[in-house]
Amino acid sequence: MTGTPLLSLDAFSVARGPCDVVQDVTCAIGAGEFVGLIGPNGAGKTTLMRAALGLIPARGQSSLAVLDRAARARAVAWLPQQREIAWPISVENLVALGRSPHRAAGRPMSDADRAATVRAMARMGLDGFQARAANRLSGGEQARVLIARALAQDSPLLMADEPAAGLDPSSQISLMELFAAQAAEGQAVLASMHDLGLAARHCTRLLVLHRGRLVADGAPDTVLTPDLLATVFQITAHYARGADGPIFQPLGVIR
C-alpha cells in the first residue's frame, strides 16, 4: 500500500438491534490493492461495506462515511448485491448514470463523460448492447451492465458486494482480471466473495470476517491456512502454488 489510504476504518462497529454484527474492525485499503472480503454467510460482509459507505449508522471512524454525498460519489463506486434495474432503459443510458456524480445538475454529458461511458462498456464487453433495454438482458449480462456503470463512475475505489455471483466461469475470471487490472493501474477494489478459489488466485490481499470480527488480513497464502479454514469456514481444502498461480480447492466439510 502506498500513499494515503482510499478507505480506512478505525475501531469500526455496526449495531443491528441489540448486538454488534460488525465489531471493532480496523483496516486500510490503498491504491493498487485488489482486496477480497471473505467470510461465511452472516459474517457481516455486506453490513461492513454498507456502513463503511455511510449507508447505515455505525460507531468508530470510516474515511468514506464522513465525506459529503457528492465527494463520496467521486471517491467510491458501490455495486450492491441486488441487481436492480427498475425500467427498460437502454444499456448506454444506464452505464451513463455512473457519470452523474461528475455532472452538475441540468448539464448535458461532456465529451469526457461520453468517453468514460464508452470505455466502461468496452471493458465489460458490451459493444453492440448500447441500445438494448437493460432489464431484458440475461442475469449475467445485467451484472456486466451494472459493473460497467460502476466503472463509468471512475472513482479511485470500487466496492462490490459479491460481484461474481451468478456469472459463468469465463465472466467470473474476466471480472477478476479486470479488477486486478484496475488495481494495477493505481485504483483499488474491495469485493466480497464466496469463491475462495477466485479470491486466492486474483486478490492481492484478503480480509476475513468471522462473526463480525476481522480475524485475518494479508496476502492469500498467509491467510488461507488450514486452521483458519477450519475455524471460520468449517472446511478442509487443498491449497497449492501451481505453475500459473495459486490453486485453491475446498475439499470437505468439518462436522
Binding site: R50, R69, R72, I89, N93, L94, S100, P101, A133, R149
Partner: protein, 329 residues
C-alpha cells in the same frame, strides 16, 4: 433529437386541445367571435363566457392534467413501480375529505373558496401524517404503507360524513362532487390553485436526476450522490401541493396519473427524468381531451370528468397490462 421532438408534438397537441376546449360550449359562438371576445373583449356576454367560463375551465384542465401526469411519473419513478399513482400517499383522499366536510357543514355554500380551502387543509393534514410516519427514516415501503393508512382513514371518514348527511340531496351533492369536474369554475379557482401547483411542479421537477439514479436501487442512488431523504421530501411535498390543489378545485380525477406515464414510458426510452416533462404534457392533453368529451358526449346530463377518465383509463390500462404480459415482462 427524439425527446425534444416528442415534447414538441405533445406541446402542439396540448395547445390544439386547449384552443378546442375554448371553442366548445353551449353558447354556440363561432371561433372568430369567440377569439375576438377572449382577446379583445368584443361583446359583453361573449367576453364573459370566454373569459370567466371557458378560459378558467381550459386553464384548469391543463393545470390539473399536468399536475396529475407529473406527480404520477414522479411517484412511479420514486417507488420504481408502474402501478403507483399520485393518490397513493393519501393526499387526494384527504383533500376530498376536507371538501366533503365543507359541503356537509355548509362552508362550501358560505363562500366561494370555502370548499377549495377545506380541501387544501385536508391535504395538509395528510402530508403532516405522512411525513410523521415516513419522512426522514424508512424506505419506500414505509411511504406506501403510510399512504395506504392515511387513504383508508380519509375514505372511512368520508363515508362517515356521507352516512351522517342530513338528507339525500346533501349526499348526492357530495357524491357528484367526488366524481370530479371542471364545470362552472372561475378564474378565482385558477388563482387559488396556480401558486401551490407552481411550487409543486418545481419540487417534482427537481427529482429528475435522482429518479434516474434510483432505477438502480436506493443504495446505488445514495452512493451516486443523491439524498433519499431529500428526494422523499420533494416527492411528498410536491405531490401534496399539486394533487391537493388539483383535488381542491376539480375533485378526484383518477387514472390520469396512472395511465399517462405508462403510455409515454416507451416513448422516452423509459428514462424517469424525461418521463416527468412528457407526462406533464400528456396529462394536460388527456384531461383537456376528457373535458372536451364530457361536453360533447352527453352535454345535457353533466357527465362528470372523473367518471370519464376512469371509463377511458381503465380499459386502456387493461390493454397496457395485456401488452406488457405478451412482451413477457
Amino acid at each position: 433529437m427524439r425527446f425534444s421532438l416528442l415534447l414538441a408534438i405533445l406541446g402542439v397537441l396540448v395547445a390544439g386541445l386547449f384552443a378546442l376546449s375554448l371553442l366548445i360550449g353551449p353558447a354556440g359562438l363561432t371561433p372568430a367571435r369567440a377569439l375576438a371576445a377572449l382577446i379583445r373583449g368584443e361583446g359583453l356576454a361573449e367576453t364573459l363566457v370566454m373569459r370567466e367560463i371557458r378560459l378558467p375551465r381550459a386553464l384548469l384542465a391543463v393545470m390539473v392534467g399536468a399536475s396529475l401526469g407529473l406527480a404520477g411519473a414522479a411517484m412511479q419513478g420514486y417507488l420504481r413501480n408502474p402501478l403507483a399513482e399520485p393518490g397513493l400517499i393519501g393526499v387526494s383522499g384527504s383533500a376530498a375529505l376536507g371538501a366533503v366536510i365543507a359541503l356537509h357543514t355548509g362552508l362550501a355554500a358560505g363562500f366561494l373558496l370555502g370548499l377549495p380551502l377545506a380541501a387544501l387543509t385536508g391535504a395538509g393534514v395528510a402530508v403532516g401524517l405522512i411525513l410523521l410516519l415516513a419522512g426522514s427514516g424508512g424506505g419506500s415501503i414505509t411511504l406506501i404503507l403510510a399512504g395506504i393508512a392515511v387513504s383508508a382513514m380519509a375514505g372511512a371518514l368520508t363515508s362517515l360524513v356521507l352516512n351522517l348527511s342530513p338528507n339525500p340531496f346533501a349526499a348526492s351533492e357530495i357524491m357528484f362532487w367526488m366524481m370530479g369536474s371542471l364545470a362552472d369554475r372561475s378564474m378565482l379557482h385558477v388563482w387559488t390553485a396556480l401558486p401551490l401547483m407552481a411550487v409543486g411542479w418545481a419540487l417534482l421537477a427537481a427529482l429528475g436526476r435522482g429518479l434516474d439514479a434510483l432505477t438502480l436501487g436506493e443504495d446505488a442512488a445514495a452512493t451516486m450522490g443523491f439524498s433519499l431523504v431529500r428526494m422523499r421530501l420533494l416527492l411528498v411535498g410536491g405531490t401534496a401541493c399539486v394533487v391537493g390543489a388539483g383535488t381542491a378545485v376539480a375533485g378526484a380525477i383518477g387514472f390520469v396519473g396512472l395511465v399517462v406515464p405508462h403510455i409515454l414510458r416507451p416513448l422516452v426510452g423509459a428514462q424517469p427524468s424525461r418521463l416527468l416533462a412528457a407526462s406533464a404534457l400528456g396529462g394536460a392533453a388527456m384531461v383537456l381531451c376528457a373535458d372536451i368529451a364530457v361536453r360533447l358526449v352527453l352535454p345535457e346530463r353533466d357527465l362528470k370528468l372523473g367518471v370519464l377518465t376512469a371509463l377511458v383509463g381503465a380499459p386502456l390500462f387493461l390493454h397496457l397490462i395485456y401488452r406488457t404480459r405478451k412482451e413477457g415482462l
